[in-house]
Subunit: 376 residues, 2 copies
């Protein structure tokens, strides 16, 4: 797996059960996966030579992020390296413009959008669709970065000029009237088998996912099935191998695709305990061309809460764990071995149960202990 | 963790979630845990110098087997190393004579037994209790080794003479009229908190555990509670820190203690998916003095089947996994990274569900695919 973050860390846990040991291409010894994996190489994921050395002897190469240059993936594939997802699929998770164009061709539900090659494009779009609109970098954004809400034509012209001058490729999207955000994950094998997880609700604060509710509360069955079918169709049409996460806006007019990710995804961390097959095992099964695992829920209600780094000071992480475990013996904790920085994702907690209000409160309390070191 | 086998391998998986990385003292690079852990040292667990080097910088030292000499544990503890379980507790899992004596003092249910210092002791015991009897090495036995059924006085005299001449310390026990074997696990922290898992049935073939049924089918509630209470009382009386597995015989006269283990145990592998807290996480929580995790069942019925190495030849383990995953998408597989040898434990599978007959058949089919490479 190229990338040594928490996704590789948790994929290594799943690999162990399958009798494997994940080889990780990390950047530094304190990367989350480098701290725990036996087979770690160091190098930059934008360095073709490092990628080539890394790939030697791997059965298959996969990714913990979208930042490996497409041309490197193509070059390695041409040399006979097996990489999943393939470059032609991954491009749709790397480049929002490519994604929007392809979704349009496939008839998948896009918001109104257009490429922005000139500030005038943005102003014209906003004037036509109504302000505010959402300006996005085509590449490189995550966790709210690379996304700019734009309120009016004056702000639009200045911001777009600055970004375009800096070489940022841009698209603009309408600001959809969203009720809430949903996500659906599927895994697809080279053989073509696709397995879908239940649709979840993702709760974002400041562009960062803080909470995932599985299954999405009160989602009508026909919408859930439509979302799963959409993800299955996209995985198949794009030739995804491995996981595909489809982030969705639920709007009064129906579902709209927000983003795609082709790797284990924060919206799927709940599956470690909450589904019969975790997303990490499923991703490995998919890229190894094994048959897919059972995606059913392990409890009626599953809530995952991210643990963000809090302000410096206060009691140690170790003491926080003590308090959390005493307060919530059933909370499942996953810490990523990262240095704490305010707002940084340093772990997550998952709680299973029968009652959404109760389970959600328990997950929030558990995450609060780890973030703040105080009772909620 | 001293010892690099599958117990350390699975403990490492649990340590990752807690934000830790397990340091392992392994014997060889192909030990199950050495294949997957980041922090591996090599050395013999009977070498005090190797143990001393290993313990430097560890928060706490614990064990994946019972074979570390008691005097070494005492020596390290005297030097200020924190080791759990402590030597005085672990001795009862290392030495069956010490265990039987202490259980007798505590009023715990022993079979009839006595030490055998001379062949005549064995003959006298058999003549008094009735043949056959079971001769056991006080130290070093596992998976059926170090246990000899003895049918009559003639065989007894010859076998005991041979073993005693070889320096083996011996005890003899009556052959109990067992209905089945049960096991109960508890974890105890230095603070003194104890948490008990549900009582399970263990199915043995040739002295090797092949199947664990959780909870033990049809076990009367009062017997289950009595078994849990017995394990809690023993953990407390012996000063165990970490896991204690109490292996029990269910007899017409009630429960009888067979053996003790103070580490993650084969009878608890079902807890990885089948309980809210796995035995591996629970052991870490206990030795780190964290509050204990929820031990409740994750499904009404959980069955664990061991995967033993089959005869050489046939399809590869990788192909076997393909067939198993296609046949049983819900089976959870744990492979230990070991070379296959006939009869060697190379992994296990766990199946969760509602109906014992169905779940048991599915687990057996899954294990059969991995052992034999053919449909059951």
């Amino acid at each position: 797996m190229v990338g040594g973050g928490q996704l590789a860390r948790m994929t290594h846990q799943a690999a162990i059960a399958l009798g494997q040991s994940l080889r990780v291409l990390a950047q530094a010894p304190d990367d989350g996966a480098a701290l725990v994996a036996a087979d770690v190489q160091y190098g930059d994921h934008t360095d073709l030579a490092a990628l080539r050395t890394f790939a030697k002897g791997c059965d298959v190469v996969t990714f913990d992020h979208e930042h490996v240059p497409t041309e490197h993936i193509r070059a390695l594939a041409a040399e006979g390296v097996k990489l999943f997802p393939p470059a032609d699929a991954l491009l749709h998770a790397q480049d929002k413009r490519v994604m929007r164009e392809r979704l349009g061709e496939l008839g998948a539900p896009n918001p109104a959008w257009r490429p922005v090659a000139d500030p005038a494009d943005l102003v014209a779009f906003g004037d036509a669709q109504g302000w505010p609109v959402v300006l996005k970098a085509a590449r490189g954004g995550y966790d709210g970065r690379g996304v700019w809400p734009v309120d009016d034509a004056a702000q639009a012209a200045e911001l777009a000029a600055t970004l375009l001058a800096g070489g940022t490729r841009l698209i603009v999207e309408e600001r959809v009237a969203l009720r809430r955000e949903l996500a659906v994950q599927v895994a697809r094998s080279p053989f073509g088998q696709v397995a879908a997880y239940p649709v979840v609700e993702t709760v974002q604060v400041g562009g960062i996912c803080v909470e995932v509710l599985a299954p999405a509360p009160g989602l009508p069955e026909e919408l859930a099935v439509a979302a799963q079918q959409l993800a299955i169709d996209l995985a198949t049409a794009l030739g995804v191998v491995g996981l595909l996460a489809v982030e969705l806006f639920e709007t009064p007019a129906g579902l709209v695709v927000n983003e795609l990710a082709m790797r284990p995804h924060n919206s799927g961390h709940w599956t470690i305990e909450g589904a019969r097959t975790s997303q990490f095992e499923q991703h490995l099964r998919a890229v190894l061309d094994y048959p897919m695992g059972d995606t059913s829920l392990a409890a009626p209600v599953v809530v995952m809460a991210n643990v963000l780094g809090g302000q410096p000071g206060g009691i140690s992480i170790d003491e926080r764990l003590h308090h959390l475990f005493a307060a919530e013996p059933g909370a499942k904790v996953h810490l990523y071995g990262k240095q704490v920085r305010p707002g940084r994702k340093i772990g997550h907690v998952t709680v299973l149960g029968d009652d959404l209000t109760d389970v959600r409160a328990r997950a929030a309390r558990a995450a609060h202990w780890l973030t703040e070191g105080t009772p909620a």
